[in-house]
Subunit: 353 residues, 2 copies
């Protein structure tokens, strides 16, 4: 065996880069593979989009506070979100499920009821899967197949100087919900008779346990003849995602802290945990909102649209990627997205802010 | 929580049926979903094929005797095999990998070197994936996308009375290899200084650790203008697969024990384990050969083809699915394929024969 490099030294993205450095494309039907939310395959008039995402017990979810139905729903939605992030429509999924014998059939039916609910709501077909046992825990991997007209596909690499940077919905809520659930779990372990009162955290907990994907936004784009210049879904946190767009598009950006959308309950919850709301918005993941850039010619169409917020603009690459404070000072945007192999360290970083 | 049904009561196929009983198809581009080796999607002139298969440490493979490079290779080949089983050509894969921190980067590179080797050999592009940590062990899920011309697609449901039943290569070898590897592991645990001599088991071990998929057979079909009436790959054992074809095609069959192809080393190894060679051929899985039926008009094309064996013929449904012994007695074919949730019981069944 050669020298040993620990996974923690590379982190998740480093590992993906490392593992894929020898990947080459051989088929003309492969427009592109790794490096965006989906792969794109060419089948004449349409582009077929393919993406895959896994949820692992103990890493992505904790059974002590995740209802199985919600888990099934979320496992689907996070995949649909990748297709919407290409301006596409999810059409089919395949599901791989690996579970230990400690789960009953009824438990898996509960999981599947969430999967079916999500597929029903988003109009997606379940077309295949593989169910196997595991020696411990649960593992769900879903592959989604979607489609988009060739000239409507939006990648991460099309943002141009002066484009407006927009985001849907509100951010930081899913992360705030996770903090509440983790605290409730710790309290419950210390005192099993403890009855949690989560009524005042309802919205942020729902954001964490039952996120939604950008179907309505994509439909609105179509109705209004808007094609964003670049787009990505916010799974790892706004800061990480905006840096992806800037890197792929070879541009810089300015984001205005006072424009960042946050829900009141999310802000209040983050403050309870001594986290600045803007830190939660920038670095908290799993909101599954869409971050996109549009040409200024579309400003009139978008300026009054409910649930879409203009949070900054694309700059020349040499200007860097900057956050602008209400006091008009600037600082560099740094990614502190969720990284499985560095989980403890990163959560510590976020909390220390 | 409702009444509890143990997974073991249903078994893998029962569980899949149960979980998918509410699955409906909503999109016109979905020709069909669950129930065959692949889902089929309609994109004008071609059918897009999608399939997914997972390998779980401790269930599908044992790290003590599985080289990581072979594991990566096999994880790909078992998926390609599903596409060939539709008479299609695999084109793209996505990979989900979940591994604990006990694996080093070099170990995963070794795994990926096998994945790249398989993709190179079979002409397949890696177009996406998701890499996450796990709390224990390794989990690999691969989704393959392939294509086939509409009028060349072969399903499980097209076998007709009088069709010939054919199989490629030889069977039982992968199961024999597994038995050897499991025995060597047990010996090694009892005596860590033990040096195994596996030279006389080389072929069966390779069949287990590094199987190949039916690329050449599918190419030969094309060159010779043959379209099988039904086809399936042999992952769970010949008996289980032939019953799948008969059930889906609503027919019966007769298989001749003396026609079943087995390699000499595989037969000798099975005998060493007190297993009848025909039992290993019928119930041992993981050979990834193709089982198919053809119309008798194609007999002249296939009769002298190396590596394709005619092992029986399709019968009327009312005649049942029968095995014919060399003494011309018949018995019912029973599936004893590999079932994760019934693993111990089934392996016991096989060994007791």
């Amino acid at each position: 065996m050669a020298d040993r490099t620990e996974l923690s030294e590379l982190g998740e993205f480093g590992l993906i880069d490392k593992l894929n450095e020898n990947t080459t494309i051989k088929n003309t039907s492969t427009i592109f593979g790794i490096g965006d939310d989906c792969a794109a395959l060419d089948y004449k008039d349409k582009v077929v989009l393919v993406s895959t995402d896994a949820l692992v017990e103990g890493v992505h979810f904790d059974m002590t506070y995740t209802p199985l139905k919600h888990l099934g729903y979320k496992a689907c939605v996070v995949n649909f979100s990748d297709v919407y992030a290409m301006n596409g429509t999810p059409k089919q999924i395949t599901i791989t499920l690996s579970v230990s014998n400690r789960y009953s059939v009824e438990a898996l039916e509960e999981l599947y009821s969430g999967i079916h609910l999500a597929c029903e709501k988003y109009g997606v077909d379940i077309v295949g899967g593989d169910t196997t046992s595991s020696t411990s825990g649960m593992f769900i991997s879903i592959t989604v197949i979607g489609e988009v007209e060739k000239d409507k596909m939006v990648r991460r690499n099309g943002a141009k100087e002066h484009d407006l940077i927009c985001v849907t919905g509100d951010l930081g809520g899913a992360y705030a919900g996770l903090l509440v659930l983790q605290r409730e779990k710790a309290t419950f372990i210390a005192n099993p008779k403890y009855q949690p009162d989560l009524a005042t955290y309802e919205y942020v907990i729902e954001r964490q346990l039952k996120p939604e994907a950008g179907k309505k936004t994509i439909e609105w784009f179509k109705e209004n003849d808007i094609v964003p210049t670049a787009m990505i879904d916010i799974s790892d946190g706004l800061a990480s995602e905006v840096l992806h767009i800037c890197k792929e598009s070879d541009v810089g950006c300015e984001l205005y802290i006072e424009k960042l959308p946050i829900d009141y309950q999310a802000a209040r919850t983050l403050e309870e945990f001594k986290i600045l709301p803007e830190t939660g918005v920038l670095n908290g993941g799993e909101d599954y909102e869409l971050l996109f850039t549009i040409n200024q010619k579309d400003y009139d169409k978008i300026k009054t649209k409910e649930n879409i917020h203009i949070i900054g603009y694309i700059n020349d690459k040499n200007m860097g990627c900057k956050l602008v404070t209400p006091q008009n000072t600037t600082m560099d945007i740094k990614a502190q997205g969720f990284d499985h192999y560095r989980k403890n360290q990163e959560n510590k970083d976020i909390k220390e802010k």
